[in-house]
C-alpha cells in the first residue's frame, strides 16, 4: 500500500472527521435484565432467558442506564428528546441471541450537542449529532485456523455474558476545518470525552477492555471544495494513540489513492495495531438492510422536564471550567497545561494531588517521565503500570532524601516490572541513597588520589572542576549518593 507524505496530503486535501464512540455503561445489571455486567466471569454464567433471547422472554429497560445516557447527553450540551423509542435492528449474527439488536434508530434520546476540545492551545468544536442507547453482543472465540481470527477458523464458541450489557453510542457530525491537526483533534476528543465520562461516573472507560470503543471515519476533499469526499470507517481502534495513528495512516492512504486517480471506496476498514496499517473489510456500498421498526416489547421513553433538570443538577463541573480551575489552583503555565492535555494526564495528576502530592511533582512525573514511558511501550498512560498513590509514595521518598531523582527512575522500573510499591522496590533493589559519610569519604579520597591534576586545579581555586570528581564518586557509588554532600566533602578536602 503506497502512502502519500502527510504534508502533501494536507497541501492537496482537507480532511473531514467523524467519530462513532461506543461506551459500555457501568450499571450493575444489564440493559434489559437483571444479570450482572461484571467483566471476566466464567462463560455463560451471567445469562438468563432475556439476554439469551430465549423464546417468550421480554426486555425491561434499566432506568439507571437511561439516567446515565441523559446525563451524558446533558454534559455534551445535547437536547433531550421529549419522547423517543427503541427500535429493532434486524440482522443475523451468532453473537446476537435474538438476531436483532435492540437499539435506537430515528429517535435518539439525546441529539444536537457539542464538545470543545483543545489541541496546542487551539479550541475545536466537535458537534455531536446524537447519543443513543443500545445493547452489546456476546463474545465469539474462533477455534482452529492459523491466527485465531475469524477467517480460516474451523468453528466458533460463544459466551453471552456480555450480551445485553448497556451500550451508548455517541456520533459526531462531520468535523471540518481541523487541517493537519485532524488526527490529534480526534485523539483529543477521545481523551476529553473519556475524562468527561469518568467525571460523570457512568463508565469504566477502559479501551483495552472494550468499555470504550471508537470507530474513526475520515474522508478527504480537494482543498476549496465544499463537497465531502468518500469516507472510510476504521474499526478496532482500541487506544487513544491508535485513534491518532489510524487516522494519520488513513489520510495518507486515501491521499495516495486519490493522487493515483482512483476513487476511495466507501468501506469498513480494520486497524492493525502492530503493523500500524488498516485493511479493507465489509463494503458499505452493499449496505445491509436492517429492517428497522419500533420495538413493540418496550414502551416509549418520555423524560419529563423535572426529571431532566434533576439529572442536570447532578452533572460534574464542565471539563473546560474544571481544567481552568485546576491549572489555576495548581499554578501551571499555559505551556505546562498543553503538555498535560497533550499527554492526557489531567485526571491522573488530579488524583495524585488528591492523594497528597504537590501539583508540580505530580505534573513532572505524569506528563514527563511516565508519559514518555507509556508512549515508548505503546500503552495508555492509565495503563502504564503505576498508580497515583504510588507516585505520591515515590515523591515522598525523594522529599525525605531516601532516593534522588535518578534513583527514582530505577524505582519506577521496578514498580512497572511488578516488583511492588516504590518502598518495596527501594528495599529489594537496595536503591537508597548512601548517607554514611565513611563510605562516601573513602570514595572521595580515592577519586582525589586517582585524579591528582583535577585536584590541583581545584586547589588553585577552579571550584567548577569539582564536577568531574563528583561524577567519579557518583559512579563509584552506583548513583546511590547525594551529589550535594559529595561536593561538600570534596571541597572540604581541597580548599
Amino acid at each position: 500500500m503506497s502512502l502519500m507524505p502527510y504534508d502533501e496530503v494536507l497541501d492537496a486535501y482537507e480532511p473531514a472527521l467523524g467519530l462513532e464512540v461506543h461506551v459500555e455503561l457501568n450499571t450493575a445489571s444489564k440493559m434489559f435484565c437483571g444479570c450482572s455486567t461484571e467483566f471476566g466471569a466464567e462463560p455463560n454464567t451471567h445469562t438468563c432467558p432475556v439476554c439469551l433471547g430465549l423464546p417468550g422472554s421480554l426486555p425491561v429497560l434499566n432506568g439507571k442506564a437511561v439516567e446515565s445516557v441523559i446525563r451524558i447527553g446533558l454534559a455534551l450540551n445535547c437536547s433531550i428528546a421529549k419522547w423517543c423509542r427503541f427500535a429493532r435492528k434486524n440482522y443475523f449474527y451468532p453473537d446476537m441471541p435474538k438476531n436483532f439488536q435492540t437499539s435506537q434508530y430515528d429517535e435518539p434520546i439525546c441529539f444536537d450537542g457539542f464538545l470543545d476540545v483543545e489541541v496546542d492551545g487551539v479550541t475545536y468544536r466537535v458537534d455531536i449529532e446524537r447519543v443513543h442507547m443500545e445493547e452489546d453482543a456476546g463474545k465469539l472465540t474462533h477455534v482452529g485456523g492459523a491466527t485465531g481470527r475469524i477467517q480460516g477458523a474451523d468453528y466458533s464458541l460463544l459466551d453471552y455474558n456480555r450480551a445485553g450489557v448497556p451500550l451508548m453510542e455517541i456520533v459526531t457530525k462531520p468535523v471540518l476545518g481541523t487541517g493537519a491537526a485532524a488526527p490529534r483533534v480526534a485523539r483529543a476528543y477521545m481523551t476529553q470525552l473519556r475524562e468527561l465520562l469518568r467525571a460523570l461516573g457512568v463508565s469504566d472507560v477502559r479501551m483495552e477492555q472494550g468499555s470504550l470503543r471508537c470507530d474513526a471515519n475520515v474522508s478527504l476533499a480537494p482543498r476549496g471544495s465544499d463537497v465531502l469526499g468518500t469516507r472510510t470507517e476504521t474499526k478496532n481502534v482500541n487506544s487513544l494513540r491508535s485513534v491518532e495513528r489510524a487516522l494519520t495512516y488513513e489520510m495518507q492512504r486515501q491521499g495516495a489513492v486519490l493522487a493515483s486517480g482512483d476513487r476511495v471506496l466507501q468501506e469498513t476498514r480494520h486497524w492493525h495495531e502492530d503493523a500500524g496499517t488498516t485493511s479493507p473489510g465489509r463494503s458499505k456500498e452493499q449496505a445491509e438492510d436492517y429492517r428497522y421498526f419500533p420495538e413493540p416489547d418496550l414502551v416509549p421513553i418520555a423524560p419529563s422536564r423535572e426529571w431532566v433538570e434533576e439529572l442536570r443538577a447532578t452533572l460534574p463541573e464542565p471539563p473546560e471550567q474544571r481544567r481552568r480551575r485546576l491549572v489555576t489552583e495548581w499554578g501551571f503555565t499555559e505551556l505546562e497545561l498543553r503538555d498535560v492535555l497533550g499527554t492526557g494526564s489531567l485526571d491522573l495528576i488530579a488524583e495524585t494531588v488528591a492523594a497528597g502530592a504537590a501539583p508540580a511533582a505530580a505534573r513532572k512525573w505524569w506528563s514527563g517521565e511516565l508519559a514518555r514511558r507509556a508512549n515508548a511501550a505503546g500503552v495508555e498512560l492509565d495503563d502504564v503500570g503505576i498508580t497515583p498513590g504510588q507516585v505520591v509514595e515515590l515523591q515522598g521518598l525523594i522529599d525525605a532524601g531516601t532516593i534522588n531523582d535518578k534513583l527514582a527512575r530505577q524505582v519506577i522500573d521496578g514498580v512497572l516490572a511488578g516488583e511492588g510499591s516504590p518502598a518495596a522496590v527501594v528495599e529489594a533493589r537496595g536503591l537508597a541513597v548512601v548517607s554514611d559519610d565513611g563510605a562516601l569519604a573513602e570514595a572521595v579520597d580515592a577519586a582525589i588520589a586517582a585524579n591528582p591534576d583535577v585536584a590541583d586545579r581545584i586547589r588553585d581555586g577552579k571550584v567548577q572542576a569539582a564536577g568531574a570528581l563528583i561524577g567519579q564518586v557518583m559512579k563509584a557509588m552506583k548513583g546511590q549518593a547525594d551529589a550535594a554532600r559529595v561536593r561538600e566533602l570534596i571541597l572540604e578536602r581541597l580548599t
Binding site: 423464546p55 417468550g56 421480554l58 434486524n90 451468532p94 435474538k98 429492517r291
Partner: protein, 506 residues
C-alpha cells in the same frame, strides 16, 4: 366419574374444597378421558399424568392440612403449547423447537401453578400460533369434537377441542388475531382475549408482540372469569403490562345483568361472506339479550374494513423479527452441521427444514414489508390504520357500552378445505382482528348451532380498553338466557349426544 368430567370448574373447585371429591379423583377422571378420546380428537401434544397426579395430591394434602385453597385449587387445566413450562417440552407447535424444555416458567404459567391448578399437559396449535385451524401444526391436526371432519379453529384449536371433548374443564390460550375467540366460536366454548397488557406475555412464545395476548378458555362464562382472575394482573417482567387493578370479571360473570346496557351491532361485520346460520343465531342471541333488558343499536365502524389488511402487514413484520432467534445456534433443531456448512448456511438450512409453509410465508412477507423503501408504505401505513380502527372503537363507545358481532363469519370448515387458500383462511379472523388492533377486551360465547350444519356459532362481545368485566357481564347474561331456553349449555348437547351414542352402541 363422568359427572366429574361434565362439571364446571367452579363446581369442581367446590367439590374439592369441601372434600366431596379429591383433586386426584378429578384429575384421574380427566386423564382417563384423554386416554379414551384424544386418539380421535388429538387435542394434546403432550400429557404428563404423573406430574398432574402429583400436583393433585399436593392440593389434597393442603386441604387435609387445613390450609386455605384458592378458588380453582385442584382443578385440571390444559395449556396451549406456547406457554413456557419447566419440566415439559414447549414447542409452539413447531418442529424447530421439538424437544425444547424451557428453563423458566411463563408468568401466566407460574400464576396457575401458584393457584394450585393441576396442569394436565400442553395442547396443539398452529405452528407459532399462525393459523385458524391447527392444520399448520408441525405435528398433527386437531379435530373438532362436534364433527371430527371439521377444524377446531386456530391457533388455539387444541385448547378449545380439549374443552369441548371434556378432556379439561379449563384451558389457556393466546390471541393475536382471534386465536382464542375463533376456536371458542367453532367449538361452542367460551374464550376471552383480555385488554392488551392485562395478562403478561412474559414466557409466552411471541408471534406478533404488539398484538399477542394470553387469555382464559372454559365451557362456562364463570369458569372463564375465574381463570381470568387467576392469570391477570401487572407483571414487572412485561414492559407493556398495565399496572392497574384487574376488573371484577368474576363479579360480572355472577351478576349476568344487561339491563340498561347499550349493545352496538357492528354493521360492517355482517352480510357478504357470513353464513346464514351464523347470522340467524347471532340475531336470535341479540333478541335474547334484548329480552333481558339490553338496548340494541346499530353502529358503523367504517375503518374495520382495513383491519385484516393492516393485520397482515403488522403481524408478519413482527413475526419476521420475533422468529429470527430460531437459528440453530443456542437451542432447538440444527440441520447441516457437518463441518462443511458455515453458521450462515446451517441457520438457513435449519429454518427451511424446521418451519412450515405458513410460517415461511409470513416471515417472507414481513421481511418484505420492513425492507428499506417499503417500511412507510406497509408497516407505517398499517400502524396508521390501527389508529383509525382504535378511533372507530372510541367513537362507538361514546354511544354504546359494548360492541357485538358474530365471532367468525362461518362455522367450522372442513379439514383441508382452505389449506391451499391463505386468503380464505385469513378471513376466519375478520371479526376478531379489530380488537387486537385496538387492544380492547373481547370474548366469544356460544349462541347455538347453525341450522345448515349443526355446528356451533359464536357471539362476540367487544368492550372498551380495561373494561374486561363488561365482556363477562354480557356473555353471562347471554349464557343464562340461552340456558333457560335450551335447558343447559350448548356443550351439554355434545355431552348428551355422546352419551346417547355410547348408550346406543351398548
Amino acid at each position: 366419574m363422568t359427572e366429574l368430567l361434565h362439571s364446571t370448574a367452579a363446581d369442581l373447585a367446590g367439590l374439592i374444597a369441601s372434600g366431596l371429591a379429591s383433586s386426584r379423583e378429578v384429575t384421574q377422571a380427566h386423564l382417563d378421558r384423554i386416554d379414551a378420546v384424544d386418539r380421535s380428537v388429538r387435542a394434546f401434544l403432550h400429557v404428563d399424568g404423573e406430574r398432574a397426579l402429583a400436583a393433585a395430591d399436593a392440593v389434597d394434602a393442603k386441604r387435609a392440612a387445613g390450609e386455605p385453597l384458592g378458588p380453582l385449587a385442584g382443578v385440571p387445566l390444559a395449556i396451549k403449547d406456547i406457554f413456557c413450562l419447566t419440566g415439559a417440552p414447549t414447542t409452539a407447535g413447531s418442529r424447530i423447537l421439538e424437544g425444547w424444555h424451557p428453563p423458566y416458567n411463563a408468568t401466566v404459567t407460574q400464576r396457575v401453578l401458584d393457584a394450585d391448578l393441576v396442569v394436565l399437559g400442553k395442547t396443539n396449535l398452529d405452528e407459532f400460533a399462525m393459523g385458524s385451524s391447527t392444520e399448520n401444526s408441525g405435528y398433527f391436526t386437531t379435530h373438532n369434537p362436534w364433527n371430527l371432519d371439521r377444524i377446531p379453529g386456530g391457533s388455539g384449536g387444541g385448547s378449545a377441542a380439549a374443552l369441548a371433548a371434556f378432556e379439561a374443564p379449563l384451558a389457556l390460550g393466546t390471541d393475536t388475531g382471534g386465536s382464542i375467540r375463533q376456536p371458542a366460536s367453532v367449538t361452542g366454548t367460551v374464550g376471552v382475549k383480555p385488554t392488551y397488557g392485562c395478562t403478561s406475555r412474559y414466557g409466552v412464545i411471541a408471534m406478533a408482540s404488539s398484538l399477542d395476548q394470553p387469555g382464559p378458555c372454559g365451557r362456562t362464562v364463570l369458569d372463564t372469569a375465574l381463570l381470568h382472575q387467576v392469570i391477570a394482573g401487572w407483571d414487572p417482567m412485561d414492559s407493556t403490562s398495565v399496572d392497574a387493578p384487574v376488573p371484577d370479571v368474576v363479579g360480572a360473570a355472577r351478576v349476568a345483568d344487561v339491563r340498561g346496557l347499550r349493545l352496538g351491532v357492528v354493521k360492517e361485520l355482517s352480510g357478504e361472506g357470513y353464513a346464514p346460520g351464523v347470522e340467524q343465531r347471532f340475531r336470535e342471541a341479540l333478541d335474547a339479550l334484548a329480552d333481558q333488558g339490553a338496548e340494541i343499536v346499530e353502529v358503523s365502524c367504517p375503518n374495520f374494513r382495513y383491519a385484516l389488511g393492516a393485520y397482515y402487514l403488522i403481524m408478519p413484520s413482527e413475526v419476521s423479527s420475533n422468529l429470527a432467534r430460531f437459528d440453530a445456534m443456542r437451542y432447538g433443531l440444527r440441520v447441516g452441521d457437518d463441518g462443511a456448512h458455515s453458521a450462515e448456511e446451517v441457520m438457513a438450512l435449519t429454518r427451511d427444514a424446521g418451519f412450515g409453509a405458513e410460517v415461511k410465508r409470513r416471515i417472507i412477507i414481513g421481511t418484505y414489508a420492513l425492507s428499506s423503501g417499503y417500511y412507510d408504505a406497509y408497516y407505517g401505513s398499517a400502524q396508521k390504520a390501527r389508529t383509525l380502527i382504535a378511533r372507530d372503537f372510541e367513537n362507538a363507545f361514546e354511544n354504546v357500552d359494548v360492541l357485538v358481532s358474530p365471532s367468525t363469519p362461518t362455522t367450522a370448515f372442513r379439514i383441508g378445505e382452505r389449506a391451499d387458500d391463505p386468503l380464505a383462511m385469513y378471513a376466519a379472523d375478520l371479526c376478531t382482528i379489530p380488537s387486537n388492533m385496538a387492544g380492547n377486551a373481547a370474548g366469544s360465547f356460544p349462541c347455538g348451532l347453525a341450522p345448515e350444519d349443526d355446528l356451533p356459532v359464536g357471539f362476540q362481545v367487544m368492550a372498551p380498553v380495561l373494561a374486561d368485566d363488561r365482556v363477562y357481564r354480557v356473555g353471562a347474561a347471554l349464557e343464562r338466557a340461552l340456558a333457560d331456553r335450551w335447558g343447559g349449555l350448548l356443550t351439554d348437547r355434545l355431552w348428551a349426544r355422546e352419551a346417547a351414542a355410547v348408550g346406543g352402541a351398548r
